[in-house]
Symmetry: C2
Subunit: 210 residues, 2 copies
Amino acid sequence: METTALPRRRGRPPRSGRTAADTREELLRAGMRLLTEQAYLSTGIDQILGEQGIPKGSFYHYFASKEAFGHAVIDRYGAYFARKLDRWLLDESAPPLQRLAHFMADAQAGMVRHDFRRGCLIGNLGQELGASHAAFRDHLEATLVDWQGRVARCLDAARAAGDLAAGADTARLARLFWIGWEGAVLRAKLVRASEPLDLFADHFLSTLPR
Amino acid sequence: METTALPRRRGRPPRSGRTAADTREELLRAGMRLLTEQAYLSTGIDQILGEQGIPKGSFYHYFASKEAFGHAVIDRYGAYFARKLDRWLLDESAPPLQRLAHFMADAQAGMVRHDFRRGCLIGNLGQELGASHAAFRDHLEATLVDWQGRVARCLDAARAAGDLAAGADTARLARLFWIGWEGAVLRAKLVRASEPLDLFADHFLSTLPR
């Protein structure tokens, strides 16, 4: 699992050999860490730079604005999580519904590892900015729709294997999956325990049309 | 429905006859409005006061700190929403599961009325502060547990009426209800449409053990 874990909190000290691409990448990683734990509007550019020991004032060399940075972090997190999903959902060594269970167990292990401080960056930003920032809203929804498609394809495979009813609406079920999963992640943060994730996982899998 | 709606945005102008209790109540109402739409950490005391035309500097006359204000707003919103739940869930003119459907339809109408800008204050604060603020976390969870108890009692009534299986675990189902409902409210804000709420409502009711 370590290859899929978010980068560790401690930043590398600046090195003379660091390239602009390295620095941009480090800023994005700092943004992913910070925005899975705290609000966008209360995350200052100084804090993003400070974590990485990058000189103040260089931020706008890499990003046109804090908003542009926010969009780049959403892209980066969306792609990171899509790879995580694919690692489990395309794992042909397990039956499709078992793959979905594996993904949920892995995501749960990630929350435990970070002591439930980290939720889902997309859920966090959606809750905070969904009502007020149209551009972020559309970007966050597009990210969820991408993840949803991956789950739907896994459910398609389950249906093809006869593990779901022939008439099962996999797109609808995948949408329900992400609605419930984001709700369960939020609740797990509040109780600092896996129980809401287990509860949702068990309920979702046990109520699928067979 | 107007009696259950959150107070309107426009504040009353200061009146010479306003008592301290009136002012405290107005500040709490402003807090409820603001925190169903935007983040706690980016909501300034000036903004809370400004909405009501209350002189700056008087905030600490009513609340020991912004945190104390936050807790008072959570209490106020928890009680407001508990009354809203009871209005529907204790309505003996409808069968119990229909009451739950009525509550969901009403909550959905509230989101439509505010053009999906307003979510759930408890979900918002939980997403923003759940990871970092232990006292808020416990208070938010206690609020959800209270609401959950009201839904569980409605499901108990459904079971007693024979509309749920005799062995149905109503406490577990009520917990699943709030996990999914909070997830659906978040998603409805992102798509600015009722569809996630309808989807969840239909799925929850149709997968109950009969």
